[in-house]
C-alpha cells in the first residue's frame, strides 16, 4: 500500500509540472485547492475549502495572468492594497462546540454579514480615498452593497485593537448584509476551474446554504520581492467554511452521525482541477490521541488508525499526520476519475465524545435597559474550561498570571456612547480603571460624520471567572431620510472583536509537511480572536407621513406669534388715533403728502389734498423713483446671483 503511495507522489509532481509547462506558468503562478473535513462534537461536520493562488513578483505591469484572476491583480495595483480581507458570513460560529483556540476558528469565525478590512500602501492622506474606491470596486466585483462602507460613518481606523498595528488600516462591517449565491458565484469566478472541476465542484448551492454556518472569505496579501525593479507578488487566499448537519438515520442519540461527501454535498469529486498544483482533502479528527498508540511508525499502526473499533474511513488515507491533540488524514484526489469518484466517508461504530479547545474567555455581548431613549451595552467574558490549561503560561514581571484581552468595538453615530460611564466588573466586583484596564483608545463619534471606536486592553487575573464591561449610551434621533425602508426593525451594531494578544493558536505538526498552503497556514501562529453577536437596537421613528403637517403647523405657530405680537404693539386707542389724524391734517410734510397720494393712486381714489405740483412733474418724479428702485432690486439680484454662483 505504502509503495503505491510512494510511487504516486512523483507521478503527481510530474503531472503538476507538466501542467505548469503546458500553461506556460514559468513565472511561477501557483494554484492549489484543499478541503478540510472535520467532525464537530455537536454532531455536525465542518467543511473548509481552501484555495490559494499565488502570483509571484514581476516587473511588468499589466502582464497576462495565466491562473491569477486579473480583476484582483488590477485591484491591488490600482488601490495599492497591501493586505485585504473580505468575508461574507451567514450564521454564527459556535465557539463552545466548534472550537475557539485553533487556527481554523480564529481565522474563519467571522461576524455576520460582510466584513472588510484593508491595509494600504499609500500616503496617510490618501488612505480614505483609496478605501472608498476599493469599496466601490469590491461592491461591483461581488454583487454586494459593500459600497455602503464608503461613508465615514460606517468604517473606522483601528490603531492596535484589531491585532494589526498599522495606521493605514481601515475596517468596516455591514451586519445587515444578506449573503447568498449571488455573492458566491463571483467569488467562484476567481478560481481557475470555477466550480466545474476539482474540489470546488462539491459546492452544491442548496447544501452549502442549508448549513448552520457558512463564511466565504477572500484574503489577499502582497509579498514584497525585495529586489529592485520587481513589483510585488500577490497571494490570494479564498476559503469557504461550511458547517453542515449530516442527515442521519440512526436513532441512537449519543452516536455521532456517519457521513460521506456525497451525503453532505450531494456530489462527488471526480478528479482534481487540472490547473491546480496540488489538490488534497484532509480529515481532521480531534481528541483521539490519548488512548491510541504512542508510536505509529509501522504500517499496521497506520492501518489501525483509519480502520479501528471506533470508526471506519471509506478510503485509505495517503498519509497520516499527528498533531498534539488531533489526527490528520491526508487524501490526494488526483487518482479519482469519472469511473472511480472520490467519495470519502466516515462511519462511526461506537459512540464517541470529545471537545474542542476553547479560547481562554468566552465573549458575549448584550443590551441592557428598555425604552427608546437610552440603554447600555455590556460585554461579558466568561471563563472556559481551557482556562486552567492556559494559566501559568502568561506570567507578568511581578509573577502574577494574567490574561490579556483586547476589545475592539465600532459604534455607529446614532449610538451616542458616554465613555465616562465605562464600568468594569471582575467576578461581580466593580474595579477601577487602573486595576484591569491597561490601555484604552477612544475616538468618539461625531453626529452624521464619523462612527465611534473603542479599543481596550484588559489585563485580567488568570483565575477570573467572569468579567463584564458595560457602557451607557443615548439613542440618537435621525432625520426621516436617514432611516432605512424598514425603520422599525431597528439598527444593527457591528460585532465587537475580542482578541487575546498573548495567546496564539497553531497546530504543531510533528513532522515536516509537504508544501500544503492550508497546513502551513495552520502551522503559523495566529491570534486567537472571537467576534460577538450583532446587536439590534430599535430606534424611535418620527411619523413618516407627517412632513407637510409638521411644516404647516409649525409655521402657523410662528405666524401666530409674529402676527399677534405685532398687532398688540401697533394697536392704538381711538382717541389717540383721532388726535394723530388731526395732527396729520394740520401739518403734512412733503413726504407724507407723497405717501397719501401714492396710497390714493393705488386705491384708485382721487387725491384728497389739493396738490400744488403739476401732474406731469409728479409722474416723472414717480417714474424716476420707480426706475431707481427697479435698478436697486436688479442690482441686488445680480449681486446675489454673482456671489451664489461664485461659491
Amino acid at each position: 500500500m505504502a509503495c503505491l503511495v510512494r510511487s504516486w507522489i512523483p507521478l503527481l509532481f510530474l503531472q503538476s509540472f507538466l501542467v505548469a509547462i503546458a500553461f506556460g506558468s514559468n513565472e511561477g503562478e501557483e494554484f492549489s485547492e484543499e478541503l478540510l473535513l472535520k467532525p464537530l462534537p455537536d454532531r455536525k461536520v465542518l467543511a473548509h475549502f481552501h484555495f490559494e493562488n499565488r502570483a509571484p513578483p514581476s516587473n511588468s505591469h499589466g502582464r497576462n495572468h495565466h491562473l491569477f484572476p486579473k480583476a484582483i491583480s488590477q485591484l491591488v495595483q490600482k488601490f495599492r492594497v497591501k493586505e485585504m480581507e473580505l468575508s461574507f458570513t451567514q450564521g454564527r460560529w459556535n465557539h463552545e462546540h466548534w472550537g475557539g483556540f485553533d487556527p481554523l476558528s480564529s481565522m474563519n469565525a467571522k461576524p455576520v454579514g460582510v466584513e472588510l478590512w484593508a491595509v494600504f500602501d499609500v500616503p496617510q492622506s490618501q488612505v480614505d480615498i483609496s478605501w472608498k474606491n476599493l469599496t466601490h470596486a469590491l461592491s461591483g466585483l461581488f454583487c454586494a452593497s459593500i459600497n455602503f462602507l464608503e461613508s465615514s460613518t460606517s468604517y473606522a481606523a483601528p490603531t492596535w485593537g484589531f491585532g494589526t498595528n498599522s495606521d493605514k488600516l481601515r475596517y468596516g462591517s455591514l451586519p445587515r448584509e444578506a449573503v447568498c449565491t449571488e455573492n458566491l458565484t463571483p467569488w467562484l469566478k476567481l478560481l481557475p476551474c470555477r466550480d466545474k472541476d476539482g474540489i470546488s465542484a462539491l459546492m452544491n448551492r442548496p447544501s452549502v446554504y442549508r448549513g448552520f454556518y457558512h463564511s466565504q472569505r477572500l484574503h489577499l496579501s502582497t509579498v514584497e520581492s525585495g529586489q529592485e525593479g520587481l513589483g510585488s507578488g500577490i497571494v490570494l487566499e479564498q476559503t469557504l467554511t461550511v458547517v453542515i448537519q449530516p442527515e442521519t438515520t440512526s436513532v441512537e442519540t449519543n452516536m455521532q452521525p456517519s457521513w460521506s461527501l456525497s451525503s453532505l454535498f450531494g456530489r462527488k469529486v471526480v478528479g482534481s482541477c487540472v490547473l491546480a498544483k496540488s489538490s488534497n482533502v484532509y480529515l481532521q479528527l480531534e481528541g483521539r490521541l490519548g488512548h491510541e498508540s504512542k508510536n505509529v511508525d509501522t504500517e499496521i499502526e497506520a492501518h489501525k488508525l483509519w480502520m479501528n473499533s471506533d470508526f471506519d474511513l471509506s478510503l485509505k488515507p495517503d498519509r497520516v499526520i499527528r498533531e498534539s491533540s488531533s489526527l490528520l488524514f491526508i487524501f490526494d484526489i488526483d487518482k479519482s476519475s469519472d469511473s472511480e469518484p472520490f467519495d470519502l466517508g466516515l462511519t462511526w461504530k461506537l459512540p464517541s465524545k470529545w471537545s474542542c479547545e476553547q479560547a481562554p474567555l468566552h465573549a458575549s455581548r448584550f443590551l441592557m435597559g428598555s425604552g427608546n431613549e437610552r440603554g447600555a451595552i455590556a460585554i461579558l467574558l466568561k471563563a472556559t474550561e481551557s482556562q486552567e490549561k492556559l494559566s501559568g503560561r502568561n506570567l507578568t514581571t511581578d509573577g502574577r498570571c494574567t490574561i490579556k484581552a483586547n476589545i475592539f468595538q465600532i459604534f455607529p453615530w446614532y449610538i451616542k456612547v458616554y465613555y465616562h460611564t465605562l464600568q468594569i466588573f471582575v467576578d461581580q466586583q466593580q474595579k477601577t480603571d487602573s486595576e484591569v484596564l491597561k490601555k484604552i483608545n477612544v475616538s468618539p463619534s461625531t453626529d452624521k460624520v464619523s462612527s465611534g471606536m473603542l479599543e481596550m486592553m484588559l489585563e485580567l487575573p488568570c483565575e477570573v471567572k467572569s468579567a463584564a464591561i458595560s457602557i451607557e449610551y443615548d439613542k440618537g434621533f435621525l432625520h426621516i431620510d436617514e432611516y432605512p425602508p424598514d425603520a422599525n426593525q431597528g439598527f444593527d451594531i457591528p460585532s465587537a472583536l475580542i482578541s487575546f494578544p498573548s495567546h496564539h493558536a497553531s497546530l504543531d505538526f510533528q513532522e515536516e509537511l509537504s508544501k500544503s498552503p492550508l497546513l502551513s497556514s495552520f502551522k503559523e501562529k495566529s491570534l486567537v480572536r472571537s467576534y460577538t453577536e450583532v446587536l439590534l437596537v430599535p430606534l424611535t421613528t418620527p411619523d413618516f407621513s407627517m412632513p407637510y403637517n409638521v411644516i404647516t403647523i409649525t409655521c402657523t405657530i410662528f405666524a401666530l406669534y409674529f402676527g399677534s405680537l405685532l398687532n398688540v404693539l401697533r394697536r392704538r386707542i381711538g382717541e389717540e388715533e383721532r388726535f394723530l389724524k388731526s395732527q396729520a391734517g394740520k401739518k403734512r410734510g412733503g413726504l407724507k403728502q407723497l405717501l397719501s397720494r401714492l396710497t390714493a393712486k393705488i386705491r384708485g381714489r382721487p387725491i384728497e389734498a389739493p396738490s400744488s405740483e403739476s401732474p406731469a412733474a409728479e409722474s416723472s418724479f414717480l417714474s424716476s423713483k420707480l426706475i431707481f428702485k427697479i435698478i436697486l432690486v436688479a442690482g441686488a439680484a445680480a449681486a446675489w446671483q454673482y456671489f451664489s454662483t461664485d461659491k
Binding site: 453626529d447 421613528t541 406669534y561 404693539l569
Partner: protein
C-alpha cells in the same frame, strides 16, 4: 403698618429657606429622581451627563468637543467638571454639582429680590410724582421683589431644573446678574453678567438693548408724556413764574441719555469678553482653540444638529423637513427672534426691565433647545411687574395651560419613548401646545403693560381735568 412691614420680610425669609430645604431634601435622593435625563429638563446644551463626558474626554487628553457630546462653555467644564467625578462617600454621586446649582438658585433669587426692590421704589416714586398715591391710599404697592424671588424659588420648573442637574440655573444666574448690575448701576457687574450669559447660551445677547436703555435712561417709568402733562397741569395751576415754566418743559421733553455710562458699559463688555475669550483659548489651547469652540457651541445652537426631542418645536420640524429647505427654515426661524426686537424697543423703551423680560420670553420660545429652566427665568421676571400687570387677561387660563402641559409632557414622552404605544406626534403636539401658551402669555403681558400705560394716561388726564 410698621409691624406688617416687619412681618413681611420675616415671612419671606421663612418661605425662601423652606424652598432651600426642599431642594436639599430632593437632591439627597439617589439618582436625581431620574430628572437629569428628562428631555424637558436637560437639553444637549445643559445636560450634566454630556458635561461629564466632555470632562472625561478632556482628562483623556482629547478635545472636550470631540464627538458630538458636549456643547457648553469650556469654563463651565473646568468649574463643574471636577465636581462630576468627585463624590462624598455615602452620598449620591452628583451631590456637589447639585449644591452648586442650589447656591446658584439662591443667588438668583436674592438678585431678583434686589431688582424688585429697586423697581418697587421706582414705581412708588413715579406714582407719587404723577399723583396717584395721594389720592388713592387704598392702593398698596405689592413687594414685587419678594414675590419674584419666591416665584423663582418655588416655581416647579426651577426646582426641577435645579434638582435635575441641568446647567440652566447658572445661565439664569448670569442673566439675572446682568439685570441686577444694570438696575443698581454697577456697570462692571452688568457687563460681566451680560458677557457670561451670552457666552453660556448666546440668546441673552439680545439683552444688550434693555441694559443699555436702563443705563442710559434709567429704570422703568410711565411714558414721558405723562410727566409733561401732569407738570403742565400743575404749572398752569400755579403759574407763578412763566420763565421757568418754559425752561422746565424744554428740559423734560427729552430725557437725558447718559452716554458716558453706556460707553462705560461697552468698555467693560469689551474687557470682559476679551477676558472670557482668553480664558477659553487657554483651556482649549491644544484642542483647536476658539474656532472649534464657536463651531461646537454657537454653531451647534444655530444649526440645530441634534434632533432629540425637547419641549420646543424645532426638533421635530427639522427631523421632518426636506433637506433642500433646511437652510431656509433655519434662517427664517432664527431671524424671527431678531425681527421683534425693534418694534418692541420702540413701544416699550420707557420700560427697559419689562423689555428684558419680553426678550427673554421670546428667546425661550424660539430657542433651538429650550428647557423649562428658561421658562422659570422669564416667569419670575414677569412677577417683578405684578403691580403693572395686575389686570392681565387670561391669567387663569394660562396658569391652567402651563400646569396641563407640564403634567402631560412626561405622560406623552412615556407613551412614545418607553411604552411605544404612542408616536412622535403625541409629544410634538404637547410641544406645540406649550409654544402656543407661551406666545399667548407674552402677547398678553405686552398688551397688559401697554394697557396699563394707557390707563395711567387716561387717569392722569382725568386727574388733571378734575384738578383744573
Amino acid at each position: 403698618m410698621a409691624e406688617e412691614q416687619n412681618k413681611k420680610p420675616c415671612r419671606f425669609w421663612i418661605w425662601a429657606s423652606a424652598s432651600v430645604v426642599f431642594r436639599l431634601i430632593l437632591i439627597s435622593f439617589p439618582g436625581n429622581l431620574n430628572l437629569s435625563s428628562r428631555p424637558e429638563v436637560s437639553t444637549p446644551l445643559t445636560s450634566i451627563r454630556r458635561l461629564a463626558e466632555g470632562y472625561w474626554l478632556k482628562q483623556a487628553s482629547m478635545s472636550p468637543y470631540a464627538g458630538s457630546m458636549y456643547h457648553g462653555s469650556p469654563l463651565l467644564l473646568s468649574i463643574l467638571g471636577p465636581l462630576t467625578v468627585q463624590s462624598i462617600k455615602g452620598q449620591p454621586s452628583h451631590l456637589l454639582c447639585s449644591l452648586v446649582f442650589v447656591i446658584a438658585d439662591i443667588l438668583s433669587a436674592m438678585l431678583l429680590r434686589g431688582i424688585g426692590q429697586k423697581l418697587q421704589m421706582a414705581y412708588g416714586l413715579n406714582a407719587r410724582l404723577l399723583g396717584f398715591l395721594k389720592s388713592s391710599r387704598d392702593k398698596v404697592i405689592l413687594p414685587c421683589g419678594d414675590i419674584a424671588a419666591l416665584v423663582y424659588l418655588w416655581n416647579p420648573f426651577t426646582i426641577v431644573s435645579c434638582v435635575g442637574l441641568s446647567t440652566s440655573p447658572i445661565e439664569n444666574l448670569a442673566v439675572v446678574l446682568a439685570l441686577f448690575g444694570a438696575v443698581t448701576r454697577r456697570v462692571p457687574l452688568a457687563a460681566f453678567g451680560f458677557v457670561m450669559a451670552t457666552h453660556l447660551s448666546l440668546y441673552p445677547a439680545t439683552l444688550a438693548i434693555p441694559i443699555i436703555i436702563i443705563l442710559g435712561y434709567g429704570l422703568d417709568a410711565p411714558p414721558i408724556k405723562l410727566f409733561l402733562q401732569t407738570r403742565s397741569v400743575e404749572n398752569e395751576k400755579s403759574s407763578t413764574s412763566t420763565v421757568s415754566k418754559q425752561a422746565k418743559s424744554k428740559q423734560t421733553t427729552h430725557l437725558p441719555f447718559l452716554w458716558k455710562t453706556v460707553a462705560h458699559f461697552l468698555f467693560w463688555v469689551l474687557l470682559w469678553s476679551l477676558y472670557v475669550l482668553v480664558l477659553c483659548a487657554l483651556s482649549l489651547n491644544k484642542y483647536g482653540g476658539l474656532e472649534e469652540m464657536f463651531k461646537r457651541t454657537y454653531g451647534f445652537i444655530l444649526s440645530i444638529e441634534d434632533l432629540s426631542p425637547n419641549i420646543g418645536v424645532f426638533w421635530y420640524f427639522f427631523a421632518e423637513v426636506f433637506d433642500f429647505f433646511r437652510n431656509f427654515f433655519l434662517i427664517v426661524f432664527h431671524v424671527n427672534v431678531l425681527f421683534m426686537l425693534l418694534p418692541l424697543v420702540i413701544r416699550l423703551k420707557h420700560r427697559p426691565c419689562f423689555l428684558a423680560f419680553v426678550y427673554l420670553a421670546i428667546s425661550s420660545i424660539l430657542k433651538s433647545y429650550p428647557s423649562v429652566g428658561d421658562s422659570a427665568l422669564y416667569l419670575s421676571l414677569w412677577a417683578l411687574f405684578v403691580n403693572e400687570l395686575i389686570d392681565m387677561k387670561f391669567s387663569f387660563f394660562l396658569f391652567c395651560g402651563y400646569l396641563g402641559i407640564s403634567l402631560l409632557s412626561p405622560v406623552m414622552h412615556n407613551l412614545w419613548i418607553w411604552r411605544g404605544t404612542g408616536n412622535a406626534n403625541f409629544y410634538f403636539g404637547n410641544a406645540i401646545g406649550y409654544a402656543c401658551f407661551q406666545i399667548v402669555f407674552v402677547v398678553e403681558s405686552v398688551s397688559a403693560m401697554l394697557n396699563h400705560d394707557r390707563a395711567l394716561r387716561r387717569s392722569s388726564s382725568n386727574h388733571g381735568e378734575v384738578k383744573s
